[in-house]
């Protein structure tokens, strides 16, 4: 009896596993625990970089991800924009991903215009999308206007008060990159941070973070946010809990279930191997 159960478990139809993880992650949507994230040093370093900027700094924000990663990175963008705005800085936002421009625009307007009532062109600017990846990054280091002659709405950037005296990266206090892959943080480290005089802080999809840890350790990144947890930690720092906090319950249960799967799967494997030996 026990043997047949073990054999069945080892060759369990994967759809039962799908069901189990689905139920586990969905469960906290109905019963919330309200778990609070712990703030990690790279997130604090990101926060401190924004905190220490001179008053009314221009902050260049490159939000490079498509809707596939929006769950992780939009909460991060919102939290970071709120911090930038509340400190009195002026965000200049753009994207290098062709599937992102309207998604980023909507979020940018939701926070800057509708939540804080900022004036477009004076307090914030949305440049939209530009193709060319690394070529655009390097081009902006020479001249912002060569890469982005117009903003997202077709207005020449020279006509926008916030952008009228912008030349290149030197016109910005810091570069904030929130990305889920290529082009993103790795390319900004290689082509911008190493080459032009601008500090770089990054928020990334968790799957990319192990690679970026090397850049954070070497000081090429001054701060690093990790996925949904990073967003939740940032929300905690700015005292504005939002979707990142809501997602922490699901994140916790999801991790625990995957760990249980690894342990349980190996337990069955070891028992079966001994039995067969």
């Amino acid at each position: 009896m026990a043997r047949s159960i073990l054999d069945k478990l080892e060759s369990l139809d994967r759809r039962w596993i799908f069901l189990a993880i689905g139920l586990a992650v969905a469960f906290p949507i109905f019963i919330r625990f309200g778990l609070e994230p712990n703030v990690s040093p790279p997130v604090k370093a990101f926060y401190d970089t924004i905190e220490k900027l001179p008053p009314h700094s221009r902050v260049l924000c490159s939000f490079d991800f498509d809707p596939g990663a929006k769950a992780e990175l939009l909460p991060m963008c919102v939290a970071v924009l709120r911090h930038i705005i509340e400190k009195g800085h002026k965000p200049v936002i753009f994207t290098l991903w062709s599937l992102a421009p309207s998604m980023v625009e909507e979020q940018c307007n939701a926070v800057c215009k509708r939540e804080y009532g900022l004036k477009y062109g004076v307090d914030y600017v949305y440049l939209g999308f530009k193709e060319g990846r690394e070529a655009v990054m390097v081009s902006m280091g020479r001249s912002m206007r060569d890469a982005f002659p117009n903003d997202f709405y077709g207005t020449p950037i020279a006509e926008l008060p916030l952008m009228s005296d912008v030349e290149n990266y030197s016109s910005f206090a810091v570069l904030v990159n929130i990305s889920s892959g290529y082009p993103g943080t790795k390319e900004y480290v290689q082509y911008v941070e190493a080459r032009f005089d601008i500090p770089l802080i990054s928020g990334a999809s968790a799957v990319s973070v192990p690679e970026y840890a090397a850049y954070y350790q070497s000081g090429q990144l001054e701060g690093l946010l990790t996925g949904m947890t990073g967003a939740a930690e940032y929300e905690k720092l700015i005292r504005r809990p939002d979707f990142g906090h809501i997602a922490m319950d699901g994140q916790t249960i999801g991790h625990l279930v995957i760990i249980a799967f690894i342990l349980f799967g190996n337990l069955i494997y070891i028992i079966n191997r001994r039995r067969k030996a």
Partner: protein
């Protein structure tokens, strides 16, 4: 009307999820619509954000006739569709490859090679870490004693693992083994963080289905 479009989003979400049970016509239809919309969106994004401001406006309003060159090169990509003149599309391809190759040489050299090597050129041992451990005996303070050693000697072992000009046997086998161990720790971290991403994305979809669409939670 908003409910109608949210319901469309909900039905499409369920159609994609239905693949988990088995491949089916709903998933196939959703998959094809997905590609069609994505390709169309990319086309429009390129038109409004690059073609108009970076090519058409300089050419027609600022009289920058030199922009006819990238226009001609870009158009030459379409010669791929015609037999006999398809080779012309190699010219614009060369523009792309030449640009990226040139940028990559500098980017990888200055961003990755030099600065990453430099970050590991540190003393292998910092006496202050011992003091920190003796005053505050935590496990992390104990680990910190080995931090610089790992960044210097550890890095050499990882690099040695990828170095195949010498056979990994005898004492060298242990060096490569140490490198493999560090790589395994890195890959384990990579796995953990991949789980993190996927769970976050899945939670978002359930949140959309149950809270934003069905409003049952």
């Amino acid at each position: 009307m908003e409910l109608f479009w949210t319901s469309i989003a909900g039905i499409l979400t369920l159609s994609v999820l239905s693949f988990l049970y088995a491949d089916n016509p709903f998933y196939k239809a959703a998959e094809h619509i997905f590609i069609g919309i994505a390709a169309g969106y990319v086309f429009c994004a390129q038109f409004h954000n690059v073609f108009i401001p970076n090519l058409w406006t300089p050419l027609t309003q600022h009289g920058e006739l030199i922009m006819l060159i990238p226009f001609a090169l870009g158009s030459a990509l379409f010669t791929r569709f015609f037999k006999g003149i398809g080779w012309i599309s190699r010219w614009p391809m060369s523009v792309i490859i030449g640009t990226y190759a040139g940028l990559a040489v500098i980017g990888f050299a200055s961003g990755d090679l030099v600065l990453q090597v430099q970050a590991s050129l540190i003393p292998v041992f910092v006496p202050a870490t011992i003091d920190a451990f003796t005053t505050n005996m935590t496990f992390v303070n104990f680990l910190n004693i080995f931090t610089n050693l790992l960044f210097t000697v550890g890095l050499i072992t990882v690099l040695f693992y990828f170095f195949f000009s010498l056979e990994h046997k005898g004492g060298l086998k242990h060096v490569a083994l140490a490198g493999t161990t560090l790589l395994m720790i890195g890959f384990g971290a990579g796995y953990g963080y991949t789980v993190m991403t996927r769970i976050a994305l899945l939670f978002d979809r359930f949140y959309f289905l149950f809270v934003e669409w069905l409003k049952i939670a």
